[in-house]
Symmetry: C2
Subunit: 318 residues, 2 copies
C-alpha cells in the first residue's frame, strides 16, 4: 500500500500483519503470510531458544520477504532469544508483555525495527519514548493475554492514535476487510490479525483446535484469570474449574495450581479441547473455513477495497 507508514517501515505490500502466537505461528505460517505480501510473525513465546534457531533457518529458506519474531519480554531466556534473532538478521521484532526500555536500543543498534504491543495510552507513550518504531494497540476482544483495563478496539485505537506520533497498528476483533476498514477509520495504519490465521492451513494449531474454532459462537470466549494475568480463551472444562474456583473466592495460589503447567500446549498444540487452555479472540465466532494463509490475506484485502468503495458511495450531501 502506497503512502502507508507501516508498509514503508516494514517493507511489505499489504498493511496486514499476522500476529505472533504461541503454538500456532511457526515458520510455515509466517513464511506463507510474508510470501503473499503481508508480514509473517513467528511467535517465540512457546519455543526453546534452539527451536527458534531452527524455525528462523527454515523461515529464511521459505521466503525472501521480511518476516518478524514476536518476543514476550518476560520470557526467562530472553537474552538467548535476542542473540539468535540478531544472528539470523531478522528485520523486525514485535515485543510484548514487558518493559520496552530493556531491549529496544540493542535491537535498533542492529538495524532491527521494533514494534511494541500495548493496551493503553500510558504504555504507548512509554514505548514511543523507548524508541520503538510503531505500536500495536490491542483491544479487549483479542485472544490470549490481554490488558487489565479491558478497553475495546473501538475505544482504544482513537485514544492511542491521539496520544502518539508513531504509527498505530490495530489488533483485537479484526479478521475481515470490513473490520480492517473500521480500524483505519479509527486511525490505524495497519492491522495485526491473530485468530483468523489460527484457522489457516499453515498454522501449527492442532486440527482439533482448528475444527473447534469453526464451531465457536458469540459468547464462547471469555477473559479470565484476571487476578494472575488476564487471558481470553474458549470456555471449556478447564475454564469451568477456574470459574468455579473464582466464584468461591479462591486465592492466586489455588488458581496457579489449577492452571498447572503447559495447559496452552495441551489444548492448542496437542488437541485436548476440554483440559487444554484454548486462547482465541471473540472474532472466532465469524470463522467459516480453514484456508491457505495467502487466501486469507487476499480475501481480507479485497473486502477492504470493496468496503472502501461502499463507504465512498455513502450519500452525505444532506
Amino acid at each position: 500500500m502506497k503512502n502507508n507508514r507501516i508498509c514503508e517501515l516494514l517493507g511489505i505490500k499489504y498493511p496486514i500483519i499476522q500476529a505472533g502466537m504461541i503454538w500456532c505461528s511457526g515458520w510455515q505460517l509466517a513464511s506463507a503470510v510474508s510470501n503473499v505480501g503481508g508480514l509473517g510473525v513467528i511467535g517465540s513465546g512457546s519455543m526453546y531458544p534452539h527451536i527458534l534457531d531452527e524455525q528462523l533457518t527454515k523461515c529464511k529458506a521459505a521466503t525472501k520477504n521480511p518476516f518478524a519474531v514476536n518476543v514476550p519480554l518476560l520470557y526467562p531466556d530472553i537474552d538467548k532469544l535476542i542473540d539468535i534473532i540478531i544472528q539470523h538478521d531478522v528485520k523486525v521484532v514485535f515485543t510484548s508483555a514487558g518493559n520496552p526500555n530493556t531491549w529496544t536500543s540493542k535491537l535498533k543498534s542492529h538495524d532491527i525495527k521494533v514494534v511494541h504491543v500495548v493496551s493503553n495510552s500510558k504504555f504507548a507513550l512509554k514505548a514511543q519514548a523507548a524508541g520503538v518504531d510503531a505500536v500495536v494497540a490491542e483491544g479487549f476482544e483479542a485472544g490470549g493475554h490481554n490488558g487489565r483495563e479491558e478497553t475495546t478496539t473501538m475505544c482504544l485505537i482513537p485514544i492511542i492514535k491521539g496520544a502518539v506520533d508513531i504509527p498505530v497498528i490495530a489488533a483485537g476483533g479484526i479478521g475481515s476487510g470490513r473490520t480492517m476498514m473500521a480500524a483505519f477509520a479509527l486511525g490505524a495504519e495497519a492491522v495485526q490479525i491473530g485468530s483468523r490465521f489460527v484457522v489457516s492451513e499453515e498454522s501449527s494449531a492442532h486440527p482439533n483446535f482448528k475444527q473447534k474454532l469453526l464451531e465457536t459462537k458469540e459468547g464462547d470466549t471469555t477473559l479470565t484469570l484476571k487476578s494472575i494475568t488476564p487471558v481470553r480463551l474458549i470456555k471449556n472444562a478447564f475454564y469451568e474449574q477456574v470459574r468455579e474456583a473464582q466464584e468461591r473466592g479462591a486465592d492466586n495460589n489455588e488458581l496457579i495450581r489449577i492452571l498447572g503447567r503447559a495447559r496452552a500446549k495441551k489444548g492448542m498444540f496437542e488437541g485436548d479441547m476440554e483440559q487444554g487452555e484454548l486462547e482465541i479472540g471473540q472474532v472466532s465466532a465469524s470463522f467459516k473455513k480453514i484456508q491457505p494463509a495467502a487466501d486469507i490475506v487476499v480475501e481480507i484485502w479485497q473486502e477492504f477495497i470493496e468496503t472502501k468503495k461502499q463507504l465512498a458511495e455513502l450519500d452525505t450531501d444532506i
Copy 2:
C-alpha cells in the same frame, strides 16, 4: 442522509440517535437532538408514568421533529407507559431489556416504529421475528446495562449485520465521527450514542457527574454486578464495596443489599460521586468539554464526512 434506511424509517436528517438513558435524557436533551436533525430519545426507565406524561407534553412543545421514547420492557408499570406513549402519538419506541414479542404488535398497530436493543444475534433474530423495524446492536464498551456475553462493538456489528435483514444501528464506544464511520464500515446504517450526550448542556445529569466525565480516563469504567445484571459504571467507593464483596465470593442477596435502592439516581441525578452508581461507557475517556447537544451532532457529522474523505484517499492500487 439519502438512501439510508434508518433516516427514511425514522424521518430524520442525520443517522445519529441519542440513546435513551436513565436520569440523563429528558425532554430538553431529546428535543435539542431532534431539532438539529438527529433522533432525540427520552429515557423512561427512571420516570414514573405521570413524569413521562409531562415530559412528552414538554418535548412536543419544544420540537416539531420526530423523537422517541426508550422503554425497558421489565419496567413494572409498563402498560401505563405504553398507554401514555400511544396517547401522545409518539412516532418511535426503543425497547430494551425484555421480550420484544410482548409489546411490538400493539405499538405497531398504532403506527409506531419499534426498535429493539440487542447484544447478540440470537436476540436480534428474535426481535426481527417479532416484527421490529430495526435493531440496536450494543457492544461491551457501552455504558449502563449490558449483555452477558461481553461481545464488543467491533465483533458484534458484523455478526448482527450478517444475521438479520432489518437495519442495524451500532451502539457502544461511539462518540465521534471516526467511530461512527468505523460502525458504518462494519455494516451499521446508523449509530446510537449515549455517553457523549451525557456531557451535553441539555442532559439532566448532575453537574458533578458531567464534570467527573471530563476527568475520566482509560480503565476508569468496568462491567460489574455480572451475577445480577451486568452494568458498566465508573469505579468509585460504591464500586469498591461491590468488588470487595465479589472477591470474597458474596452471594447475590448480599450484592443486592449493597446495591440498595436508587443508587443510580444518587449518583447521576443527585451528584454523589462516591456512593452513587455512575453508569457510563468506555468512550467517556475521550470527552473534552460540555457542549450544546446540537453542536455534538454537527461535530460528529462533520468528522464523519472528513473521515469518509480520508478513507476514499487511501491508495489501494498496489
